[in-house]
Symmetry: C2
Subunit: 113 residues, 2 copies
């Protein structure tokens, strides 16, 4: 697969969509309930929900005339495990890099490869 997390990254890039996910952490919500929380139009929220659904971050279940949106945090976990986690080893090193950076001491490439 061609990096299925691509849609997830893009979905998470928008602050409104992250807020939607934050709301869904407390439990499933109908589309109407979600719209009531945002200043933008109902359709704008629906578009965001469609993007979140395509990314697999939101699961939808229709019940009569309502649409229940469920949070699925699994893709977020994958983002962490497949990418962010790889940077844990550099966190401490980054502070050192910053220090050398401001010191401006030349010729300290220190590349690993």
């Amino acid at each position: 697969m061609r990096e299925a997390l691509e849609d997830v990254w893009r979905a998470l890039a928008d602050p409104t969509r992250r807020r939607i996910l934050d709301l869904l952490r407390a439990g499933p919500r109908t589309t109407g309930e979600l719209c009531a929380r945002f200043a933008v139009s109902r359709f704008a929220v629906m578009k965001h929900l469609a993007i979140l659904e395509r990314a697999g971050l939101v699961l939808v279940r229709r019940e009569s005339r309502q649409r229940w949106n469920y949070l699925n945090a699994v893709p977020i976990r994958q983002i962490y495990e497949r990418w962010i986690r790889d940077y844990e080893g550099v966190w401490a090193g980054s502070l050192l890099t910053l220090k050398r950076h401001v010191e401006g001491s030349g010729r300290e490439r220190g590349r690993t490869s």
Copy 2:
């Protein structure tokens, strides 16, 4: 501050930029070295670097006619600590949600708030 991580999220949304960061994990690189690794034009890479720099993910030090790009992983750590971490408690629950979702048993809202 008005959520300074906004630029970081947007910067991370692009796969080319994430690849640049992956390269920089092994150590600092000049702009030219980075360009050689990508199919897109040199200027496209420079634009990506500018976005990464604005987000604070890349620190730049000029040395004579070269520009050394350093990885700064601190914003990535903040993304984790201020957002992703909050979802750890839901990872297990998401599997349960998924199970209920496919079962399609109505009326199990189970909201916390």
